[in-house]
Symmetry: C2
Subunit: 349 residues, 2 copies
């Protein structure tokens, strides 16, 4: 049977411009409630959604040869730091509904993951109704959890804090993983996609390392995007720090629960990732169409065509590639697996 | 002629405990000025300094085969977020004097680099008198510049901001580089050595990438420690982001001014670093004795014995190793080169 190529990290970065306009209006409405739009004011037709996907993500998926994308709202537009919980709540509902509609329009190619209506300083438990709706009504198979809803000021407790436990309890109940993904930086020190994203990946991993979070939640699963930030490159440092802190070996302490995607945009980076991180912990992803959209002048290929790097790796055999492309995603996202089995007409386990 | 092995990244992490006691007293004095110690209250004899070095850094240098360490005050103890400028100023003066004394006691093995008396929100120009003293009286060959004196709250402008220019003007005048090195994180989100350090490295690099700082200061030089944080692992991402931002190729945009050390504590990481970063931009370093002091159970050797990884690399020839160990350090730290030439009885260029 052919391996299915599952991209676990896609955002709806190409939504029709009406969405931007609505969001700008909402932001204007924070200062002047008389201009605040209603959710129902946003009108985007199925044809517009189809067009925005067919000419962008789906075209590239066909060209590059990936089959299915786990699709969530645009990460940089989550911007949880804007407004209060009500603002985030309305915005998350709109964005999640659009990804759901895309998944209904292209059921063979997109399956949704939810953004949460996080807001700085607001109890994460307030996100649960949106999460429940996205899983139960929209068929979402995962969530994006922002460890820093302040947008670069890092005012929330670490992910290991009980503050986040209501989210984790629901994740465990539903058997859904979280991709740990920040949004736009509003701190001038941090470029969003060049610093804040990678820093957050490293920070989240270290928050897990210093804690015993996965003792409390043995089945909780985190996907660290962007190839794990700095983590695989500094794997010796992290192994050494765990040892200093008298933690178990990382494979036992974290690797039953923490996974890395392949959003690393050059061959030497992917080669390092696949060399130091066990293949069971690597999930194929490209974050296409995302932060780096150009063609690498050194290769003549798109930087974010990460499948090329996986294919070109001389460290991966057929079984390893199957795990990275499909097997691990089915294991880490059990609801994805069930959806695929149901579609294939098989009874699920 | 034999290559000299120069470690460009060593901190005085093993200073006699009297230093800690003095600092704790100083911190107590912030709340209760009646207990504030005077600088002169700190008494550490030459014998104590000798002992602290001979049994630690120097013993390991001899064992591992490095010759000379560029030696600066303990990074995590800089803690610029504590107290005001006066507190930092007294503390920096004490710490810099100790490193100077070590360099006088062991002139063949240690040459000093200075910490600055930075303080959050205080004009960096206030650091210049300490910098001048360290260069002119103590023979310092570089400085450590903290891009986040707040300790993990990132409240200062980016390094590309004119805010920092007084420091850069003095660096250019003296022909000294800065290692961009943060201190202890007082933000619970960031583990100091597992997240904050690496994040700062990535952040600093991206601050340079998005700016035209080195157009304003063509001879300014930054050393990014810890192997450049996440940068080499994501070199494709950074090349792609520079392209999106219409910047020149990174080799032209940044690599005349930005250098990476080799504080990467496993072989695959060093192999990636030496593969993607031009050899002219890599400086040997171990940050020994530092964050990761243990023995790697996978190799039976110390994690931070980075010379082993350089030696074991199959990508480096003799000339490349000379550059990494000695040649690049002489070029990036011209005052080091002059000191070595003077010592060898040669007239300098």
């Amino acid at each position: 049977m052919l391996t299915m190529i599952i991209d676990c990290h896609g955002h709806y970065t190409t939504a029709p411009l009406a969405l931007d306009a609505w969001r700008n209006q909402q932001i204007a409405g924070i200062k002047d409630p008389s201009v605040m739009p209603r959710a129902a004011d946003l009108k985007i037709s199925d044809d517009e959604l189809r067009e925005s996907i067919e000419t962008n993500q789906l075209a590239l998926m066909r060209k590059r040869g990936s089959d299915l994308t786990i699709f969530s709202p645009r990460a940089s537009f989550m911007a949880h730091h804007i407004g209060d919980f009500q603002i985030s709540s309305t915005w998350a509902a709109i964005c999640n509904e659009l990804c759901y509609r895309v998944s209904e329009l292209f059921p063979d190619h997109f399956i949704p993951a939810a953004m949460l209506p996080q807001s700085p300083g607001v109890d994460p438990a307030t996100c649960i109704p949106e999460l429940v709706k996205c899983v139960e009504q929209y068929g979402n198979v995962g969530i994006n959890l922002n460890p820093d809803p302040s947008g670069g000021h890092w005012t929330s407790p670490p992910l290991s804090d009980r503050y986040w436990y209501p989210i984790y309890e629901k994740m465990v109940e539903y058997d859904i993983p979280a991709m740990i993904h920040v949004s736009t930086s509003c701190n001038a020190c941090f470029h969003t996609t060049g610093a804040h994203y990678l820093n957050a990946d490293t920070t989240a991993f270290m928050q897990c390392l210093t804690s015993d979070l996965f003792t409390d939640f043995p089945s909780l699963k985190f996907v660290i995007p962007h190839g794990g930030g700095a983590v695989p490159y500094h794997w010796g440092r992290f192994r050494g720090l765990a040892q200093e802190l008298k933690k178990p070996l990382l494979k036992d302490h974290l690797l039953n629960n923490v996974f890395f995607d392949t959003c690393v945009y050059h061959q030497p980076g992917i080669d390092l990732l696949t060399k130091v991180i066990p293949v069971d912990n690597i999930l194929f992803a490209s974050e296409m169409i995302g932060a780096v959209r150009g063609i690498d002048p050194e290769t003549g290929e798109y930087f974010d065509d990460t499948k090329r790097y996986i294919e070109a790796s001389n460290q991966l055999d057929e079984e390893a590639r199957y795990k990275i492309y499909e097997g691990n995603a089915r294991r880490v996202y059990p609801r994805l697996d069930r959806a695929l089995r149901a579609k294939a007409g098989l009874t699920h386990a």
